[in-house]
């Protein structure tokens, strides 16, 4: 291990072999290379010369150096050099490896894994036994695996962070039963703890580990963990991220995604220096906000960087309607003022008369102290409720004076007054909410008193409709399901005249629950939830594992996430189609506290790079040089003509790179069958997609049409003959490399002679909703092909042959939609009036792409499989257009021709 190079040797004493090099140098020098033997009749004449010519033939210097290099490489390789050697292990028989794999470790998981790998590799080399302990509980508890390091290495590669916090206390308990003799302990630490666990648990585990053997702690060096805080209000007006400790200024980017995975918005959150919290407003229209299904911190993997959204965050529209709605001059006495203020963070408030409100998209209608509605309006409201609306009525003097038919229970005329000067009774508080009602689980504020209320007519079913009652059992909120909606009545006022309800926190909670009843949310979630898709430790949604027990909905937000209750999307059991419920890690884990055990024997950083044994490389280099030496020796002895030697050398040296380039097959082979080609961009993922896309399209064509194209090929327009292909698919991503000189001319020639190219900028996937052009791919396209001599372009006209070449199409979706498809205006007399260039950005290859099993490779947004089908149809039309030209346009004239024939 030297100080200036991360290089170490397994057998350093073998390096002494290098001392022998000078001796070998001398030996090689005085031993000339074997001469070339050559029969030569006048040898006798030469013999007379040679006797005088006695210069010793030296090995040429370069050959000498070459051989010395080979020898030095061999010596170096034999001494077992290791790049980035890790002075990892002490001498104990058993190596105990404790890995913290709580949610906060996802950000530096690769370093953690590298360290683990390095430790296991070292333990493997040295033949130790290993014990692997992960501190985040699995469903079967804390995992402790004991075995040969080689087996554990395979296991370690499968390790992933858990989307829940570690439980160091449970780990310490689990380790208590472990019998290990001579051990050393390595703890890949996460120096953070959740409040529920606490620093004491970390210290306890450290103490337990020290009892096993000397403890080495590896602590990560990166910035403190950052997590997203789930927004409290629906509609996600603001995005908020926190970090575990304040530090230097930093920025993170939060990205909002819609239900289909489409990007909706991107917002930058800046942590000021010394601040723990960063916040930014999200500027989106309401409809977009309601689409947000997932918010995540870009580039920071982990369950804490992701917030999943469900119906609770949908911002609903609430219509307010009250008799005295216009009392703006005395807002505190207004019936609706308190409701409006209470709902403002959660919902969009609309006011107006019933007609106007019902015309718009309203989820909840609040009617405050509306006495008697006209019959027609009652009927309209009733049908609206039956279609899923929620009507919340508040009582008041007018309702007390006489209600209409739109009430959940029959009311007695007049109201009940509690605690007035002439009554014995005191104002009453709320009784606990019934467990099966929409307000189940809400805490009752004992300070809320109801002084006056309207009374329901006693009836047998009154209890069933009572959603909240006073201490004495008098119903104070009643409700009834009508069709798919709800009709609710609060038996007191929406302002503080009859009760304190409107001034309490409980009022807010109850209103929110009412909002939850509104259409789309499926009502309050009750009963058991089953996992639908769960987040993995890196914050990706995965199918839920089998065997997760259902969890009571009420536990949401109270029960900490863990192996039995992983974060993710849960679904009410037995209710197909019900909206999923988001369970976020941050519901219960709200902060992280630093926790660094003080009693470690040694503290190290995580391994930045895996140690790499260099011996194989050195041996390979020595072998290569030996081949060169062999060729050179043969050449010197004349056994190998110069040309052959060079060829051999070039082959040896360029072998790997030569294998990478795939020249096109023989043109005769290519031309034997119809096939389409895609242009190699040199960007591997783009090329893979193009290839898979055209393969998918070829398959579709073979299945549905008479065209049975051969396998598509990738071409390099700078080099390969393009004329063999009727259609080129040319992806132009923003990172498309520059064109080789002369390419443009070749492309121009190809187009001029009847070729067809579909340029695909893929912009539709990069643009934000609302933008319809000017994307990065389009800009790159302009840079690359600006000098191409193209006829004027136009969006595909509705009577273009492309719209009817096989299927009848109106638009041309790909993996994305939203951009026009541009086509050069057919010029009469040129190319038979067939367009030669199509430019769009829908990422068609992405929609066509299939894997080896014929399964689609990429999701199609926003239209799903229907849109993919349309994309395939576009592909079929495109291929038909490329192959048959304007043949279908001719069909347009068929009626005219028939008519003429008939005459």
């Amino acid at each position: 291990m030297s100080a200036w190079l991360p290089l170490g040797f397994a057998q350093p004493w073998l390096l002494l072999g290098l001392l022998a090099l000078p001796a070998v140098w001398w030996l090689l020098r005085i031993t000339p290379p074997a001469p070339m033997r050559r029969p030569f009749p006048p040898a006798a004449i030469l013999a007379r010369l040679a006797s005088r010519e006695d210069t010793p033939a030296h090995t040429p210097l370069w050959l000498l150096l070459l051989r010395m290099a080979i020898l030095a490489l061999l010596v170096l390789a034999a001494s077992g050099p290791v790049w980035n050697p890790q002075p990892l292990l002490a001498g104990a028989e058993t190596v105990v490896l404790v890995v913290d794999d709580g949610f906060e470790t996802a950000a530096d998981w690769s370093a953690r894994l590298r360290t683990l790998e390095a430790l296991l590799a070292r333990a493997d080399r040295e033949g130790r036994e290993a014990v692997l302990v992960t501190t985040a509980p699995a469903r079967a508890g804390i995992r402790i695996v004991r075995g040969r390091p080689a087996r554990l290495r395979a296991l370690a590669r499968e390790l992933a962070p858990r989307p829940w916090p570690a439980d160091r206390r449970a780990t310490a308990r689990a380790l208590a039963g472990l019998e290990i003799g001579d051990a050393e302990v390595h703890w890949l630490l996460s120096p953070w703890t959740v409040p529920g666990e606490g620093a004491e648990a970390v210290a306890e585990l450290a103490a337990r580990l020290r009892r096993l053997g000397p403890l080495t702690v590896y602590r990560p060096g990166g910035p403190p963990p950052v997590w997203l805080v789930p927004p409290a209000e629906p509609g996600v007006p603001r995005v908020r991220a926190e970090r575990a400790v304040a530090g230097p200024a930093a920025t993170v980017t939060a990205v909002a995604f819609g239900p289909e995975g489409e990007g909706l918005a991107r917002v930058t959150l800046a942590f000021a220096e010394g601040e723990r919290v960063a916040e930014a407003a999200l500027d989106l229209p309401l409809e977009m906000r309601n689409r947000i299904a997932r918010l995540e911190l870009a580039g920071i993997p982990g369950a804490a960087s992701v917030v999943l959204f469900d119906e609770r965050w949908r911002r609903r529209v609430v219509g307010l309607f009250g008799a005295r709605a216009g009392g703006e001059d005395q807002p505190l006495l207004s019936d609706l003022h308190y409701v409006a203020r209470a709902l403002a963070p959660w919902a969009e408030i609309r006011r107006g008369d019933l007609d106007r409100l019902l015309a718009g998209p309203v989820s909840v209608m609040v009617l405050a102290d509306v006495g008697r509605l006209p019959e027609a309006e009652v009927a309209r409201l009733r049908t609206w409720i039956e279609r899923g609306g929620v009507v919340l009525r508040f009582a008041g003097p007018r309702l007390a004076a006489g209600g209409d038919a739109l009430l959940p229970v029959r009311l007695r005329r007049g109201e009940r007054t509690l605690g007035a000067a002439l009554t014995w009774s005191r104002p009453l508080a709320f009784a606990p909410f019934p467990e099966d009602g929409p307000f189940a689980g809400l805490a009752v504020d004992p300070q809320v008193r109801v002084r006056r209320q309207v009374l329901a007519e006693p009836s047998p079913e009154l209890a069933a409709h009572t959603l909240a009652a006073l201490e004495d059992g008098t119903p104070v909120v009643t409700g009834r399901r009508l069709g798919r909606g709800w009709l609710l009545l609060v038996h007191t006022t929406a302002n503080p005249t009859w009760s304190d309800l409107a001034l309490s926190r409980m009022f807010l909670d109850m209103l929110r629950r009412v909002l939850d009843l509104a259409a789309g949310s499926g009502g309050p979630v009750r009963g058991p939830l089953v996992a639908d898709r769960i987040l993995d430790g890196f914050g990706r949604l995965r199918p839920a594992p089998a065997g997760l027990a259902p969890v009571e909905a009420a536990a949401r937000g109270r029960r900490p996430v863990g192996p039995d209750f992983p974060p993710g999307l849960w679904r009410p059991a037995g209710r197909e189609g019900a909206a999923a419920v988001a369970v976020n890690l941050q519901d219960t884990v709200r902060t992280l506290l630093p926790a660094l055990p003080r009693n470690a024997d040694r503290v190290r950083g995580l391994v930045a790079e895996v140690e790499r044994p260099l011996a194989p490389w050195l041996f390979a280099a020595a072998l290569l040089l030996a081949l060169v030496d062999l060729a050179a020796s043969l050449r010197l002895r004349g056994l190998l003509p110069a040309g052959t030697a060079t060829v051999v050398l070039v082959l040896v040296l360029s072998g790997p790179s030569a294998a990478g380039a795939q020249p096109l097959p023989d043109p005769a082979v290519l031309a034997a069958e119809t096939r389409f080609a895609w242009v190699r961009t040199g960007i591997p993922e783009v090329d893979r997609k193009s290839e898979a896309g055209l393969r998918g399209l070829s398959l579709i064509l073979a299945l549905r049409t008479a065209v049975e194209p051969a396998d598509p090929v990738g071409v390099d327009p700078a080099r390969d003959e393009l004329a063999l292909f009727p259609l080129l698919y040319w992806p132009v991503p923003p990172e498309h490399p520059d064109l080789a000189p002369g390419t443009l001319e070749r492309v121009q020639r190809y187009l001029d002679r009847g070729g067809m190219i579909l340029f695909d900028t893929g912009d539709a996937g990069l643009l934000l909703p609302g933008e319809s052009g000017g994307g990065p791919g389009e800009r790159r396209f302009r840079e690359l092909f600006g000098e191409l001599d193209l006829p004027p372009l136009e969006p595909v006209p509705s009577d273009h042959a492309l719209t009817r070449a096989f299927y009848l199409l109106r638009d041309f979706p790909g993996r994305f939609i939203g951009l026009p498809l541009w086509v050069d205006r057919p010029r009469p007399g040129v190319n038979d009036g067939v367009s030669s260039v199509l430019i769009g950005g829908h990422d068609w290859a992405g929609a066509w792409a299939i894997d080896e099993l014929g399964e689609p490779l990429f999701p199609v947004v926003p239209g799903g499989e229907h849109q993919r089908e349309m994309a395939r149809r576009f592909g079929v039309n495109l291929a038909m257009y490329a192959l048959t030209g304007n043949y279908k346009t001719d069909q347009v004239h068929v009626p005219a021709i028939l008519e003429r024939l008939g005459q």
């Binding site: 000339p32 290379p33 001469p35 070339m36 033997r37 050559r38 029969p39 030569f40 009749p41 006048p42 040898a43 006798a44 004449i45 030469l46 013999a47 007379r48 010369l49 040679a50 010519e53 006695d54 210069t55 010793p56 033939a57 010197l636 004349g638």
Partner: protein
């Protein structure tokens, strides 16, 4: 060992040789001497003798064979009886030696033919020319008498190509009839003195010789480089040269000296020397040979 190039079929090689020979006029060897031992041939000796071509009539003298009287000519004269005399015709006999030693099997880099193949081609072409010119030809060392005509050519070809003869690098010491001609084709990478001794034996019998030194271009140029161990295919010498490029100049000088010594020593034995490289066209080698055999042919032969 480097493989010899594809050995062409015997007949094919003769055809090649004949084709080469066709491009030169029939070779007439200057007969310098007339000797009784020489069998009658096609070349008139400008005197009476045994032959088939009419030379002159002369009056009958007593002692002449009666059968030699030409009665038809005699009948035209009233006084004399004439004896018909033919011109004395004698064919030159040419002995060709083609080096068959292992060193002849050498072929340098980038050369199409080894020396042996070229030597055989030239020998055969020469034989074709000579036989067409009416001479008699024999392969030195084959132990046969010279022969002409179709049969002679067949036999010569067989002797030359079927091998089995001596593979010495020096011409064999076979006693030859006087006034024969000797043609030596070899690389002459031997001790010039030893060669002189062999040739001198023939010279003493009045036999003139022509020698064609046949070299591979790489033997002349020494185009190699680096550290090379040169081995004589006949195992007589090895030379380890550290840096061939350094000795190239001196080697060429030595080779030139060797050539001059050869030329000088052969000249003493009435033997001329010409040089031929296997990268040159074969016809130029044949031309060199014909020029040596018949100085008059020089102007007519023309290049290939």
């Amino acid at each position: 060992m480097w493989p010899r190039p594809h050995e062409p079929h015997r007949a094919a090689r003769r055809v090649a040789a004949e084709r080469l020979g066709e491009r030169l006029p029939p070779l007439l060897v200057e007969a310098e001497r007339v000797a009784a031992s020489v069998a009658p041939g096609l070349h008139g000796r400008r005197r009476t003798g045994l032959g088939e071509t009419f030379w002159q009539y002369r009056p009958y003298q007593p002692g002449d064979d009666v059968r030699s009287i030409d009665w038809r000519a005699s009948a035209r004269s009233d006084r004399h009886r004439f004896v018909r005399e033919n011109e004395w015709e004698a064919a030159q006999s040419v002995w060709i030696w083609c080096d068959a030693s292992p060193s002849m099997a050498y072929r340098g880099p980038g050369v199409r033919e080894d020396k042996r193949a070229r030597a055989e081609l030239l020998a055969l072409a020469l034989a074709v020319l000579l036989i067409r010119g009416g001479e008699r030809v024999a392969l030195l060392g084959s132990g046969r008498r010279p022969a002409g005509g179709r049969f002679g050519l067949e036999r010569f070809t067989a002797d030359l190509l079927e091998g089995g003869g001596p593979t010495d690098s020096l011409p064999p010491e076979v006693p030859l009839p006087r006034f024969a001609r000797l043609v030596l084709i070899s690389d002459f990478l031997v001790e010039p003195r030893a060669l002189e001794r062999r040739v001198a034996v023939h010279a003493a019998r009045g036999i003139a010789g022509s020698a064609l030194a046949l070299w591979d271009p790489s033997e002349v140029e020494l185009p190699f480089s680096g550290r090379v161990l040169f081995e004589d295919p006949e195992g007589r010498a090895r030379a380890l040269v550290g840096r061939v490029e350094e000795v190239r100049g001196r080697y060429r000088a030595l080779l030139a000296a060797h050539r001059e010594e050869l030329r000088e020593r052969l000249a003493r034995c009435r033997c001329t020397l010409a040089l031929h490289r296997t990268d040159q066209p074969a016809a130029s080698g044949l031309l060199a040979l014909t020029r040596m055999l018949d100085p008059r042919a020089g102007g007519r032969g023309g290049g290939p």
